[in-house]
Every structure is written in structure tokens, then in C-alpha cells.
Amino acid sequence: MQRALTLHQTTVGKKLIMALSGLIIVGFAIGHFLGNLNLYRGAEAMDGYAEFLKGLPPLLWGTRLLLLFAFGAHIASAFSLWNRNRKARGSRYKVHKDLATDYAARTMYWSGPILLLFIVYHLLHFTILPAHPGEVYRNVVEGFQNPLIAGVYIAGNLALGFHIFHGIYSAFQTVGANHPRYNDYRRDLAIAICAVITIGNLSFPIAVLAGFITL
């Protein structure tokens, strides 16, 4: 017997899942960046902010569960679509010229897995296995003083920038927000969110390497 068609079985539904879960993750990334601005206010502010979050288990664990769910849905849909799209071409073109796509869009299947590896490393580095538990500021500054670790964070955030540039713009289109009168704003908004998160995040390792943030 055939099952009833549900939204997530269609390619469009899978894209909607990717768009909505992606927007949840971008929303978190904005909050994550804003919280990390405490680094510029010094050790007390940063560690105090971390204590404050840990003092609110429903918020902390609610966010973690939501993110776990969003990442799971995002990756599962991406894998399913990738598998499908790869088979859809059939034979390869000998000559192929791109007319409209850009670097960020063409490298989504690369920036995504790179980001996943980076996030796993980031969680191990600061959340799961920190060098000095409870001393967030010290962990971050000591970590970024190592050029190799700072380099990993810079590379990871560049991948994030490319991924969410296409991701945010693309998510608007996928959820159906396309109107000739507003499409310029749509692109501007995507660029603005992407620029704030990426440049902001990149500033932390660079500020430590430059000696602007010290222990």
C-alpha cells in the first residue's frame, strides 16, 4: 500500500525544512555573537554572562534541544537532497558554463560539512572539554593566542559566512518570500545579517592575536 504524501517527502518540503531550521540556527548565531561581545568588556563580564546563562537551565537546555533538533533536521534534509540531486543529472556535461550562480551557492556542499566539523571542534574546545572549566574568558584568550587555533576559528567563520550568505538569501526564496518590489531588500538583509555575524565573529580571534584582548 502506498502512503499518503506528506510535505517532508517532497523536494519542496525538504527545502522548507532546510530553510526553517537554517533560520533557527542563524537566529542562534546572532544571539551567540551578541553574547560574545562581552569579551570586549573583560573577564568579569564574560564569565558573569556565562554564569548567568548556566543559572537559567530551562533557557540553556531549551536552546540546546532546539538547536540539536534544527541541526538534525537541516543535515538530514541536506543529505537526502544531495543524494537525490546527484542522481538527477544522469550524465555529465563536457562543457558547462555558469550564468547566474555564485561562489557561495556552488560551495554549499563543502561549506556545510566544514562547518559541521568546525562546530564539533568548537564544542569540544570550549563547552565539553575546556582547559579551565568555568573560566570562559581565559579559555578563549589562551586558545586564540595560539595562532593555529585562531586560524581554525578564522577559517571556520569564513565557511560560516559563505554558507549563511547563500543560506539566508535562499531561505527567503524557499519559504516563498519573493516579490519584485522587495527582492532588493531581501538580498540586502541577507548581506547585512551575514556581514554582522561573520565580521563580528572574526574580530574575536583577530583581536586576541593583535594583542587588543589580553588576559
Binding site: 523536494t11 522548507l16 537525490r84 542522481k87 538527477a88 543529472r89 562543457v95
Partner: protein, 261 residues
Amino acid sequence: MSDQLLNLTLHVWRQNGPNDAGRFETHQAKDITTHMSFLEMLDVINEELIEKGELPISFDHDCREGICGSCGMVINGVAHGPQKLTTACQLHMRQFKDGDEIWLEPWRASGFPIIKDLIVDRSAFERIIQAGGYISIRTGSAPEANELPVPKKDADSAMDAAECIGCGACVAACPNASASLFTAAKISHLSLLPQGQAERQDRARKMVAQMDAEGFGGCTNHGECEAACPKGVSLRWIARMNRELVRSMVRAEAPIESRDR
């Protein structure tokens, strides 16, 4: 206009049937006038091939006026060739220079099996239309012209979407061989008009299910389809298709079955 004659080198995909591996064959096009259309240039080569007792290059064509959607091939990596908003039949040889090398390939997609050389089987598009791209009408004498008022803005939008001639260039150009632009144009065209409302409830579900069942990929918003489309069908219709699908899913009274190819 220049009356210069062109001598070109063509690398043409030759494939004897759906199960043949296929290969490129090189042909010389000699003394081609710039006034010829691209298909006329192929006609000249084919006449020479026939005279030599060889099989002519098979390609699809019908109206040669850029409106039927029959012709189409990937010319130097671009569906319908280098001129924007132009079908292969309306592409003229003045777009090329003497001594150019031209690579000719069929649309490549699992949903469009190659029949022979540059001809692909596009009946998948017919099945997507059959799944839901129709309206129920009263047959018989022509209806009163102004019986169903249509706002000017809706009529214009519907016409923009209805410009799609179903040539398949969107599938050929898409990195995922997705048929989203075609399916979206058809869903949008009908959903905008009063005549399309009767089946609107199920249309998007049925057509998207069929599109997926044909083995086409999903949309990743690269915009290659829009850039390759000879009729300038806009990506905005894909956004509209997505909205229509959600609407169709939410409001549906009876579930429809999932389909396998």
C-alpha cells in the same frame, strides 16, 4: 550586416539510442552565412552527411519561430546557446566568429532520457501537466469574453508565468537538473486565474509529487534556470509554487498517494 562566411568546428554528441554510451564527433561547417539560424547551419551539415551516406545529426525542432519549445540543445555549455532570451532556433550564426569551436550536447537529466544524439524524451513534462496542470472547462461554444473578470495585474502575472514553452532549458541548466521552474510556472499561471481555482486545492501537491517521481532534483536557488530560460520565466514563480504547495497541503481534504517512478 556582414556577409562574411564562417568556417566552424563542431563537436557534436552522437548517441545511437537510450542505451548507447555516446561520444563526441567532430564535423566541419564550411561557408556558413551569418544570416543562417543555428538549426539551418545544422541542416547544411546534415545534407553533407546524407550525401556522404552517413547518418544525419538528430535534433528536435518544429516551429523555428521560438514559440513551440521543441528545439533545444546545450551549445558551448549554455542551454539554447550564448544569446539571452533566445531559443536555439532563433539563435543566428552572426553570434559566432569565423574559426569558432562549438560543443553541442543534449539536455542532460535523468528525467530526460536521451533518445538519439541531441533529442531527449521530455514526456516527463507531459506527465507533470497531466498530474494537475489543467482546468475543468465547459466545452461547447466559446464563453462570453468578459464573463469572468480578471484583474489586469493578475492577467499580466499569469501571462508572464504562461510564457513558459516547456522546452526544458531550466532542467538542462540547473546544477541539480531540477524541473522546479517549469512546474512552478505552470502552477502559478493557473493559480492566478479564476479558471484555475477549481483544481487549485490539489494542483501543487499533485504536480510536485509527479515532478519528484520523474527523478528531477530539488531547487537550490542558484538561478541558473532563470538565466537560461529563453522566455525569461522568473524565479519568483518557484517561491509561489512553494507557497501553493504549503497551501495545498494545509487545506487538502483528502490525502494523495506518494508516487514512485
